[in-house]
Amino acid sequence: MQQPTSHPIGTEKAISIRNLYKSFGELHVLRGVDLDVFKGENVVVLGRSGTGKSVLIKIIAGLLKPDQGTVQVLNQEVPSLSEKQLRELRLKIGFSFQNSALYDSMTVRENLEFPLVRNVKNLSRSEINRAVEEVLDSVGLSQTINQMPSELSGGQRKRIGIARTLIMNPEIMLYDEPTAGLDPITCMEINELINEVRERYHTSSIIITHDLTCAKATGDRLAMLFDGQFIREGTFEEVFETDEERIKSFYDYNFVE
């Protein structure tokens, strides 16, 4: 069984969330969420489908506005940032989408170049090429550089999606269901990649998943979201050493060691 690599975790907070509420009409998704992520830490947010895990990281990235509460990312209050400030903050945030969200009409190279050429001015062609090749090499997919996203497997798409965020050297990584829909071997490779990204880029991460293998392999700390609130937090062992019925059933039906 993989374990998260030992990595120094800072005392400074990268993300700090307090009393976060979010509803969609009558549906109350988040109901008073508190969460801290320290620099260099991998926090896994666990929970059943539809419990608001993805909503949580979309609020952190400024894609959704919360109804109430504070969301501080790198000491900046996300909901109150101007468009320009939010864009600057987003340069420090990497977001890996559940379905990779690669741009269908572009090759892998164009996908990777896309944020770089628009956010870093005066880069020469050779510098862009070098950055693309480096980041592709770091996810082990140099051979796919001229392929279209439709020609890639699910695992390759995930890796390219992660590479696209890494090209901007983010300080924070947000992974939305990184292993969803992948076979166990590819899941293991993605888990390794998440740990490697932390080692190489010194990122702080939130990993949204309901895959307990992924949670155990990547998380320094786990937080269990249930009915819009965190019901338990701690290491993998601390979270699952309990008689709490909701957590036990989640463990029993999901986890095969």
Partner: protein
Amino acid sequence: MRRNSRDYVITRRIDNLLLNFYEAYMFMGRFFREAFRGPLEFQELVKQCYQIGYRSLPLISLTGFITGMVFTKQSRPSLMEFGATSWLPSLVSIAIVRALAPLITSLISAGKVGSSIGAELGSMRVTEQIDAMEVSAVNPFKFLVVTRVLASTISIPILSFYCAFVGLMGSFLDVTLNEETNIVAFFEKAFEQITFLDIGSALFKAIAYGFTIGMVGCYKGYNATQGTQGVGKAANASVVLSMFLIFLEEVAIVQITNWMR
């Protein structure tokens, strides 16, 4: 009780309609803000002009040519009754330049281009590609919407004049097969009755239709929801709404041009 629930449904529909108008107005306002704030995604604009303009040429050529030819064929018997077949080039050119070319081009483009923009952006929305652009600190509105609306506003007037030219060529073919004429005489006669106002109003119409098609397609696609079903709805609504708006604009512009004439 029944009356109350019916009133509620009507009120909600009116609310939704007004909300849609407001959102469309805000969307258009954002377009003008973003379009005039640099830098422009020039490469994407050229790519979209190629997609919208160049790739529509075969369809516009075929439709324009056949329209010109058929219109000439069907007008001949009526003019023959008055012994006025020599007026055919003028009649056809007035019909094509003033009305048919901008209208046919825009209706074809509403189907071909509008649906394609609606479906493409809708699919990008539901597969989170637009969100991915946003979180990578790139302005998706500028990259996707501004370029497509501008490309459509630039390309459709060009296509429209091309359609008029091809339509006149179709008409010339029919005229030359039935009457004794040559191309110089035909075009001299054809442009005899065409004024700057005709060309100006045709240009204005085509610009308005191009803008409408691009804007509606982008608005519907950019705001698509509900997965693949939403993509289909966005593509369909792009065509239906832009055609509806094109007809309204046609009536308004023709009325204004007639007042000016």
